[in-house]
Subunit: 421 residues, 2 copies
């Protein structure tokens, strides 16, 4: 077989009027973007249009003048609204014809459920002539693979579960043979504790140098409350030179950012903390006030966390701090609930009451109310007690209630991590 020209560039079209409402957005394209990057195919654009034959047809015609590969999701169902097949046939100036293989597979699917195939599903077998059906293990809508000269058009169903399975089983292998570029290799460095500007100030000279290397690395910084991530990518094959260069870059960046890097292998902060606790045979408890259970909620999100989480007490009311955690009334009176002595007493109290090895105490003002000039909204005091030794820090977080709480949980987990390493 002669070598076919490579598919180097792509656009994605998501079809569905519901995707033009304020309630839903196209999430399939993020998954497809990652897979196309893995294949080394450059994504040039993403578009959403409604269930309108003429608009889809016009978009396909235009995209065929721009890129090698077109991926369309949605509009493959059996109803009148599902017009992707017709629109593609019109854009390619080909007839529609019934594909007996598709009829048989849809009939078989209904037969397995002891149901006759509804007449309406026969529409799904009407496809542009020359289209090759792609099996749908999770639904009735078959996908279609269409070649036109050196270009390719892939039609995938809209439901993410169906789309992903079909892409993995039928589309990815075909594209592996046809993609011309190198796949993208990825590494992620996760940090917490510094703002984005400070992380970038330290990291920029390093990733800047790697960006100009023979195998260039490109770096994206992603910021969320309490967490800054560096996403590094380089083009190359698995286990090849790109992986080695990425490893070098990760090491160089981690050395400069060492104080704040908690993960270079994709793990979340709570997973890292959990592994450290398990390795050391320690169990943790938390006494939470302003975070109201979110620190415990995040730790117990990790499967198997019952091996290292004992439990905790949410002491929203001061009475609970006194009765359940043994915080002395005099401490509350003298220093206020949001203070280092109270946070320390909470951390130590939870260790004692729950008989656990590591204790977290969090108390603060999440807002929007409750701030004072001395202790404004965003003031959070966090203590970590381990084996009779308690450390404590006062933070001043910025943002709304949710952001303050998220950052407080992140800071508490990070304080535990630093105590354990």
């Amino acid at each position: 077989m002669a070598l076919r020209p490579a598919l180097r560039t792509a656009e994605i079209l998501a079809v569905g009027s519901e995707l033009l409402s304020p309630y839903r957005t196209d999430t399939n394209s993020l998954h497809l973007t990652e897979k196309l990057e893995d294949l080394g195919i450059e994504l040039r654009g993403k578009t959403i249009v409604g269930d309108e034959t003429a608009e889809i047809e016009a978009w396909i015609r235009a995209a065929l003048t721009r890129v090698d590969l077109i991926v369309v999701t949605g509009g493959l169902g059996p109803t009148e609204d599902d017009v992707t097949r017709e629109a593609v046939a019109a854009a390619l100036d080909v007839e529609m014809s019934e594909d007996p293989e598709i009829v048989a597979s849809i009939e078989a699917r209904f037969a397995r459920r002891q149901m006759p195939m509804p007449a309406i599903n026969r529409r799904q077998a009407q496809v542009p002539s020359g289209a090759e059906p792609l099996a749908n293990p999770n639904g009735t809508a078959p996908g279609l693979w269409i070649e036109r000269g050196d270009q390719a058009i892939v039609l995938l169903p809209g439901p993410p579960r169906e789309m992903r399975a079909m892409f993995a089983s039928a589309v990815f292998p075909r594209l592996q043979h046809r993609s011309g570029g190198h796949p993208l290799r990825r590494r992620v460095i996760k940090t917490t504790g510094w703002p984005e500007s400070r992380v970038d100030e330290v990291a920029a000279p390093i990733y800047g140098a790697f960006a100009r290397a023979p195998i260039p690395i490109s770096t994206t910084i992603l910021a969320s409350p309490g967490q800054i991530e560096l996403h590094l990518t380089a083009a190359g094959d698995e286990g090849g030179a790109a992986d080695s260069v990425l490893e070098l870059a990760v090491r160089a960046l981690t050395a400069s950012l060492s104080a704040i890097v908690f993960s270079t292998d994709g793990r979340s902060l709570e997973e890292v903390v959990g592994h450290l606790l398990r390795d050391r045979g320690l169990r943790i408890g938390a006494a939470e006030s302003c975070t109201g259970g979110l620190a415990l909620g995040r730790m117990t999100d990790v499967p198997g966390s019952s091996r290292w989480v004992t439990g905790g007490i949410v002491a929203y009311d001061n009475r609970v701090k006194i009765d359940q955690l043994g915080v002395r009334q005099t401490l509350l009176d003298e220093h206020g609930a949001v203070s280092e002595p109270v946070a320390r007493a909470m951390a130590e109290g939870i260790c004692e009451r729950l008989n656990c090895d590591v204790g977290i105490g969090v108390t603060g003002i999440a807002g929007p109310e409750g701030g004072t000039p001395e202790k404004p909204v965003g003031t959070v005091v966090i203590a970590v007690a381990i084996a009779g030794d308690t450390s404590c820090r006062t933070f001043q977080f910025i943002g709304d209630r949710q952001m303050v709480r998220t950052q407080a949980v992140q800071a508490a987990l990070e304080m535990v991590r630093r105590r354990l390493i």
Copy 2:
């Protein structure tokens, strides 16, 4: 002034190469979609392209053949990457010229911070001739309003905080004068407890009738774990016939779904529960096992929740159930930790220990491990104790660990709500 033709249809373009990565997506367009609906302007499509002048120019040229209004976000910064202004000028075949008003406003912004304006920012004053600048209260990038015949092009900055403020202050008022259609009026009915198919079975005949009424209502069903929402919209002006018809539809649907409707005014389930507790002067506590603090975390997400949340105990370890909640060892031995007697003892124990009026007890198997043939993953037992009267239910939730936990919290809050109404 002569009446200008209305702007009835629109497309949105988001510019930014980072939006074509797997890590980020365009979120501005959901906000813009809602605002355009509010104005009665029909959205025909959304597109994302990278920072490439030629691609933006070609897209603008094509969109001018399709719709009345084009909204572009991103690419208005001061760097070489920011090419939206040039691309739009090219698409309209107009020259670029420096706008002295923009220079002055950027200089003033830097002056307020006692900084000279960097030379690079002068690029932001280079705009397509005839463009009208739109003030940016939250950043340096001015927006632009451009008219071409009866069509309009709006350029907005990419950062959501800047885009939203500018749209509200400068774009919305202009569009109000130019939009031809009726704005969309909205209502939301939030339910919990039934699966989507059952909600739809009951609701479809009712919203179907309203869809065929003289002022038609369109209905969208949004499903998330433990919550099904009906979003109703109708075209019309505020306080007019559309509002009356929507009110009728909300009443008809609420009557049929009454058992499961918790909100028709936008409030979340935790807000509804909080209001019920406050109105009755009651305070709540929770004893959580498999949900690990998430129920307390959700309740304390509500600002002012310290007025109705006392606190709680996360009893991940059975020892904590015994020592802190007073669950008897014999109950655990006889029935297992995931059982109605234990859930009841947890709910009653939290009321007693924390001296609160309403107690929640949640115990279950969130998975992925820990399931048995009798108590598979997804089994969750929830008890609610109020004034010595405890109700209890065993649920079988479907989905992964996170979905099971989310549904369990939702079910617990709903059980409290039903006990209080």
